[in-house]
């Protein structure tokens, strides 16, 4: 599978996919020490985002979330890459300052084909997300 999106923050990464259908707030919604999603009722609550290609529709919440993404990168708990349907300023800011590849404008229906556990390669410079056959 090969999906084409838009580069927001460049770079390449490969990792296991963590796919959520809910918006994500890194401030208050993810524990930066452990990388685990802590937001109550979130569809990936209790799962770790560390080292994953984290796929979710968009961001939400406080602008402080940008600093949380940066903190996670420093602690080694950050996702390897982020893939959104439609990104927003908090995530874009966080990914730039942390140096995490970020791709968005992946077709919503194509996104349905992605599942947690797949191995994904993200080439953000060319906006490509593809599955890696093991």
């Amino acid at each position: 599978m090969r999906l084409k999106g838009r580069k927001v923050v460049g770079g390449c990464a490969e990792g296991e996919a963590l796919v959520s259908r809910d918006a994500v707030s890194f401030y208050g919604g993810v524990d930066p020490e452990t990388g685990v999603v802590t937001e109550k009722g979130h569809d990936v609550e209790g799962r770790s985002v560390s080292g994953k290609v984290f796929v979710f529709p968009t961001g939400k919440g406080s602008t402080v979330g940008s600093y949380v993404i940066y903190r996670m990168k420093k602690l080694g708990t950050a996702p390897a890459a982020i893939v959104n349907v439609e990104t927003e300023a908090i995530l874009a800011t966080g990914c730039v300052i942390a140096g995490i590849p970020l791709v968005d404008k992946i077709d919503g229906e194509a996104l349905e084909g992605l599942e947690s556990g797949m191995i994904l390669r993200v080439d953000a410079d060319s906006g490509v997300v593809e599955s890696v056959e093991l």
Binding site: T63, V64, T87
Partner: protein
Amino acid sequence: MLAGEDSPAAAKLLELLVALGEVFGAERLVTVESAHISGVSYKNLGEAGLEWLEEQADLGARARIRATLNPAGMDMDLWREMGVPEEFAEGQRRVIEAFEMMDVEPTCTCTPYLIGHIPKFGSQVAWAESSAVCFSNSVLGARTNRESGPTTIASAVTGLAALYGYRLDENRRPGVIVDVEEVLMTTMDYSALGYITGRRLGTTVPYFRRLGRPSLEALKALGAACATSGGIALWHGEGVTPEAGVMEEHLAGLEKIVVGRGDIEEAAAWLTRPLNDPVTVLGCPHSTLGELREIAGLVKGGDLEGSLWVFTSRGVYAEAVEAGYVGVIEEAGGRVYRDTCMVVAPVREMGWREVATNSFKAAHYMANMGLETRIGTIRELLSEVPG
């Protein structure tokens, strides 16, 4: 500059502006004349934000345009008296030092426009702090989006911002007409109007009719509340704000809503609980000299025993000391603090449980922090404290 010829920090910060410009479909960058930077309180930044700020300072980030700073989590001199924990104070001091190294003025106020940071009509600026954004866009007619801490630092260091949103004429047009049915009198009335409007409109630009003759304090309160309950960054007021006249030709066919006394009373009721022993907190946004004069007049000779806290900027504080207002408030047992406010100070650690205020913005945030709140005019609130 993208190649890093200025400083390593500047190259990275420019990359941030370009990335955001791409996200929002900006065609190019524009020069901005000034920046107002948010994300200053250690309560919100934590170690993560502090580390990033220190890294920027170390990598050579320096403001090349005028840049002022939003409130910190404590009065930088009187934090002990406020009951702020030592560890918090240490983190907060490091935040301010990092900003000072970046040549940012440590003004620590949400009202830079009250201390001489007043952008010209039509100028492009990069301001964060939602209430200051509203004041700048609406009352001054300067142009900014609702920026964040990192983006305002990026603009301060590069002198640039991405050209999108409220920087463009077509996005400054009103989307809804708000007819004010009631004669608005107090600052609290205007704060209520803003709070109601933000809740109903979200991020749509309102065009207010029959706003009366709002004072400086009312203009400050209206925008602050609009930006709290909604994401409003710009409002127009017929006969009040500088772009309202130009917008008249864009009113045809707009949806209209009406706000009356009943709506104002209902809004106050949302944020009002019966309280036993509240701290009265005033100065959200930071108090003007006129507000300090009013407060001093009402509490003179009273015995407040520390149950009144007033927040303002250092610039206005100095004027109020000169005029004798601070002395009168302190003699009556009230406290006046600079650099901070009830929204960004670690108030739970300071032991607060109940607060009374004239600001819908302050009440909204304090209710979200789990405190019990009540809303009233300055006169109502100060007639209730013992004295």
